[in-house]
Subunit: 330 residues, 2 copies
């Protein structure tokens, strides 16, 4: 058994993004809610792809993007997710390893193809995602290697993973192992529709032992069923060690015990595609947190990583985030 | 049999580009000559991909890019090229059809996988290509539908197609059909190394009946084995009806009989990736030429289409070239 040591292990749906620019009329015609993530079956995937314009393929998956971000920042990064042994699976595996991430999850040899997310980017740079989970449904508890989780300072899991049943079971197993090893468990709520699907399960899981929670303002309000962000923040404060609440161009607030740290967003950049903003924010915070930076410093790294990712198409870093941090934050 | 009518039919190697940013040291280490196109086998493809960083996949292929450009300009565009019925083949077919191109070449059901070109982009925006031809070797004369060629004002073929034997035979068949139907034959020399491989065959083919020739300054000098561009231009003047000689940031010159028309390059843009500059130049010229524009006007459209493609990663138009021409050239 190798002698593992990781800052983070990220667990999620392993997906190749198929990104296309569309106009708002297309969303209306297809009955899609802007900024949402919709699960689609194979027939709908074919239908939607047939209607979409020319696209670009880039490795994605929420937690995969976060894992790539941690590695690009210079962190020790591990990823768990399921692809099939097909051309898109080979692309996914190549890209995440090429960023420096450890990725040892066994590929499935039959069943559904590697997952794709058809990401529609409107002229306002917002993204609407349509995900065919494919091989992701094959991920299960057997894919969780206990020694890897026990060797990770933080095990981070995406809320989207609750959609496939095996993912949820893998998720719970990993959380148990992490806590038994006195390591931290982190969760991102992923999407407000995802929160709607699993609200009570998420609340139980958070109360039962999430140490670091990531959510945007819509997701945290949906979780606690309130229209008042302050009320949601007040509730979450007593539930987790740290909560990072992102608010798009309004920046983010990081809650820890009685303190709140406000982090500004970088509004100087030209926003091209918001895909991955939350994922890379999590990369920055987790890298900072597991490498001895303060909460405020970790938040600044998070904000910088998020700004880089929305300045170009795709949710994987286009440059070395380590170099970017050295240049911008010294 | 459908009632075909095309401005252009483009025939070439059907390829998905795998684009990665690298530094000059990587080219040196791998013994690669900047700006060249290198043919690689499957083993070298695996080796090179393993050494490359994270990549983006975008449909490509020189003549495929030209066909997409003609369609994006509003032209009636047809494409002939061979992919396998696999995930990358489905991506290629989707993207070219989504641009509005007719693409009816039958996919191969076995044999090598869909072709990939590993395109390495250096910080100076230059590209070095490493192409695994894969399923492209299956293209042959049977893939040339006579009614389509006879219904095309111009049949345009890439020099790269001379590498696979079947491609060369398809190429000759298409040229014969085009001339029998009193339509024009066009050729791009593609690459100076490609010219080196097939110089005498290219000279014979051009003398035997190429009407519109595309080449950059290196390729035309290589063809006629001279260091003097003026001398090469003087030679080609008597060989073809029209020759378009591109010179990168120095623009292009279009030769027709005794006249020469100089076309300026758009040097105002921020050059990101030069992949596809020649391909889209050809789109612009062929669209203009087959739609009643003058040589000078066609050159201006060519220059604009080339400038658009080098302003972003990938060799397929990122916006409607028809709208761009309407806005910029009225």
């Amino acid at each position: 058994m190798p002698d593992y040591k990781f800052d983070t292990t990220c667990i999620g749906n392993a997906i190749v993004d198929v990104i296309s620019k569309i106009d708002d009329v297309f969303l209306d015609q297809e009955g899609l809610v802007k900024n949402s993530m919709n699960l689609i079956d194979e027939a709908r995937a074919e239908d939607l792809y047939g209607k979409m314009g020319t696209a670009v393929e880039i490795s994605g998956g929420s937690a995969g993007n976060t894992a790539a971000g941690v590695a690009s920042l210079g962190g020790l990064s591990n990823y768990v997710g399921k692809v099939r042994n097909d051309q898109l699976g080979a692309i996914f595996a190549h890209d995440i390893r090429a960023t420096g991430v450890t990725f040892d999850t066994v590929m499935s040899e039959d069943g559904a193809a590697t997952a794709r997310s058809f990401i529609l980017v409107t002229p306002d740079a917002h993204r609407t995602m349509n995900t065919y989970l494919g091989a992701c449904v094959e991920l299960g508890p057997d894919d969780i290697i206990p020694e890897m989780i026990a060797a990770s300072e933080v095990t981070y899991m995406e809320g989207y993973l609750w959609d496939p049943d095996g993912g949820k079971a893998a998720f719970r197993k990993a959380a148990t192992i992490a806590h038994e090893a006195d390591k931290r468990v982190s969760l991102t709520l992923s999407d407000s529709f995802c929160v709607d699907r699993f609200r009570s399960e998420f609340i139980d899981f958070i109360d039962g032992g999430v140490d670091i929670l990531f959510a945007n303002d819509d997701e945290i309000k949906s979780l606690y069923q309130t229209d008042n962000l302050e009320e949601a923040i007040s509730t979450v404060r007593s539930k987790v060690e740290i909560a990072c609440i992102t608010r798009g161009k309004h920046g983010s607030v990081i809650i820890q015990g009685h303190t709140s740290v406000d982090i500004e967003a970088d509004t100087s950049i030209d926003v091209v595609d918001t895909t991955g903003a939350g994922d890379l924010y999590a990369s920055g915070f987790l890298y900072g947190f597991t490498n001895g930076y303060s909460i405020a410093q970790s938040g600044a790294i998070a904000s910088l990583a998020a700004a880089e990712i929305i300045s170009h198409i795709g949710a994987r870093p286009g440059i070395s985030l380590k170099d970017l941090v050295a240049k911008r934050l010294g």
